[in-house]
């Protein structure tokens, strides 16, 4: 079976800092996603990518950049961390966009001090 690996598991940043989160999958899936989850809330889509070098904005793309350098990896950058921000960033992958079974990584927990 395959696996999705997110790094780092925990990330502490400072206000204004640029922070990068990484995600790798070995399912050979075409589509990868980044979601943000705030405490006690649902998941909101930040960016997704349907193939290498493709990028599609989600509902929460402002304040973030993303990069699909190769099929197996999808990175997310917080362009300027906001003070007291605390959230979990979840990466997922699927065979295709929209109507395919997909699998999540275990998340990166961000705290900005």
């Amino acid at each position: 079976g395959g696996i999705i690996t997110q790094t780092p598991k925990f990330l502490i940043g400072q206000e204004g800092q640029k922070l990068t989160l990484k995600c790798q999958q070995n399912f050979n899936h075409d589509t990868m996603y980044w979601y943000r989850q705030d405490s006690g809330k649902g998941l909101r889509l930040i960016y997704y990518s349907i193939t290498e070098n493709d990028l599609q904005k989600g509902d929460l793309s402002e304040g973030y950049d993303a990069s699909r350098e190769k099929k197996s990896s999808f990175s997310l950058t917080v362009t300027s961390a906001q003070k007291n921000e605390m959230a979990v960033f979840l990466c997922a992958s699927s065979i295709a966009r929209g109507n395919s079974d997909y699998t999540f990584g275990s998340g990166t927990r961000l705290l900005v001090i």
Partner: protein, 108 residues
Amino acid sequence: GDQVEQSPSALSLHEGTGSALRCNFTTTMRAVQWFQQNSRGSLINLFYLASGTKENGRLKSTFNSKESYSTLHIRDAQLEDSGTYFCAAGNNNNAPRFGAGTKLSVKP
């Protein structure tokens, strides 16, 4: 507005009882997926449906694309079923969107 409306937002069950969670969709979806998020935050894949009904142990899920809804039935609830349940649905033109979740508490 939100494309995926999930209800109820919270649910309390006694062990051995059951109930249903529901997601309504404001646009045509091609498939739905149900997840359980445990206390550690991990998302566990419960069901993926493009149509019809699937059953796994004490859980059963139905997806009706024409009437734009999906349900997740839990029967004989156990303590370990506690957690937050999410549905996610998408179509060929859009990435899946999540409901706001149902926080389930199972009590002895």
